[in-house]
């Protein structure tokens, strides 16, 4: 079986290093927090102004003043800090945040990403994604390999409006793990029971398997 959302999150959690600051986007990236190996010290940044974000609160302990960037109620860990939005993006721009994990609609073989707008259909906005991808040292994308119609989301070039250019280093999909460098997707690992043929068939961008 290919990876489900939890499988993708678990695989990405293996990429997270001890003693780092990490920003998690909405969706699958949020799940990564649940699978960070025991004993590792990782500080989660939420761009609305938290370092040291903790898990969801117990029922009855929700605090309307304490939410994450996905507007979900959360808690704070010991040693956390709160700051304003200008400082939050200041630390992102100054590359103090070590790793950014976010979702995407499309990723290209040269590391471009689209994830904020489908012209004429959906315009939600870029939120903090453009700031994050323009500045982060290391960015991992978590997404499905194909869209609902079965079209590849790993492309020669993005067809949707861009969020950022030449910025994505790694993509983890339901089918496997891919590094992006030198204008190609490099297959790093196949998800369980996924064949090389399937990945080749479902990857529209340049794919190197060695």
């Amino acid at each position: 079986m290919a990876w489900d959302k939890i499988g993708i999150a678990k695989r990405i959690a293996q990429e997270v290093q001890d003693g780092t600051y990490v920003n998690l986007g909405i969706g699958i990236p949020t799940l990564v927090a649940n699978y960070i190996p025991e004993g590792m010290e990782v500080e989660l940044q939420s761009e609305n102004g938290i370092l040291g974000m903790g898990p969801f609160p117990f029922e009855g302990e929700e605090d309307a003043d304490l939410i994450n960037a996905g507007k979900q109620t959360v808690t704070l860990r010991e040693g956390s800090s709160i700051f304003d939005s200008a400082m939050s993006f200041g630390m992102i721009r100054a590359q103090k945040v070590d790793l950014t994990i976010l979702g995407a609609m499309e990723v290209s073989e040269n590391g471009d990403i689209s994830n904020w707008k489908v012209p004429g259909k959906m315009v939600k906005g870029m939120g903090g994604a453009m700031d994050l991808v323009a500045s982060a040292k290391n960015i991992i994308v978590a997404m499905q390999h194909c869209d609902k119609a079965g079209n590849s989301k790993l492309l020669p070039q993005c067809s949707l409006p861009l969020t950022g250019i030449h910025c994505i280093k790694k993509v983890v999909t339901d089918l496997g793990v891919f590094d992006i460098r030198d204008g190609a997707f490099h297959l790093v690992e196949l998800a369980p029971d996924v064949t090389l043929e399937e990945v080749i068939a479902k990857t529209a961008g340049k794919l190197l398997t060695q």
């Binding site: 003043d65 304003d84 200008a86 870029m126």
Partner: protein, 234 residues
């Protein structure tokens, strides 16, 4: 006489806001929004507003109230999902929308409060956000020139404040409020608790009162939660 910043109500505090003005509105989602000021704007019936705010509220709360009454001409925001009426007005062309990166929004407020006309940020380089903007390269990396905002009024929500306008925010309800407080030509702050002078430790003040022109104690805070997420007790 003197500084005379304290107002008795939202109605008194919002005096002078008129149709066609540009307003900054603090908050992230529904967290830390100036609920009393928004309610007052609906009562005042001012129209053709340009609102600079990270989000646009939801259909029946926050800035969504102003959208329902068609009081907003233009929104400048970073993320506008979760609001069906907003989407309808945007797609039909009734509402002008400028979407900008969240950090750019925060920093353009900050620039205004720091007296700087522009900032350079890499966010949006190579995307449609860069259209029509100056691109400059520093140390091999490209940046967009972004201008400081120019807002007639900033509407801000703080947790505690005093008669000098010194402010303390609570938790993530801080978000855009401090930099918007610094950026308004006239800054109106509503607080949950207006405390006596001397009650706030000067070392713990987030926004010094020099940026605040009017302050009042808000009432009936609903503090609606947009995404209530919990975990089970084991």
């Amino acid at each position: 006489m003197g500084f005379n910043k304290v107002r008795a109500s939202a109605a008194e505090a919002c005096e002078g806001i008129t149709s066609g003005m540009t307003l900054m509105v603090g908050g992230f989602g529904l967290c830390g929004i100036p609920e009393n000021c928004i309610t007052e704007l609906v009562k005042m019936g001012v129209k053709d507003l340009t609102c600079i705010s990270n989000n646009a509220g939801v259909d029946d709360f926050g800035l969504g109230f102003l959208l329902q009454k068609k009081q907003v001409k233009k929104m400048i925001s970073s993320y506008v999902g979760e609001n069906a009426e907003f989407e309808r007005q945007m797609l039909s062309g009734e509402l002008e929308v400028e979407l900008i990166p969240q950090g750019t929004l925060a920093t353009r407020c900050m620039a205004a409060g720091y007296g700087m006309p522009v900032v350079y940020t890499p966010a949006g380089v190579g995307t449609e956000v860069a259209e029509g903007k100056e691109v400059r390269e520093f140390k091999g990396k490209k940046y967009l020139m972004e201008e400081a905002f120019d807002a007639d009024f900033a509407l801000v929500k703080a947790w505690k404040g005093d008669a000098m306008g010194n402010l303390v925010f609570r938790s993530t309800a801080r978000n855009f409020n401090p930099m918007m407080a610094m950026a308004g030509k006239i800054t109106i702050v509503e607080v949950e608790e207006l405390v006596p002078l001397g009650a706030l430790d000067p070392d713990h003040i987030h926004t010094p009162g020099i940026y605040v022109h009017r302050i009042f104690q808000g009432v009936n805070y609903e503090k609606r939660i947009e995404q209530r997420t919990v975990r089970q007790r084991i």
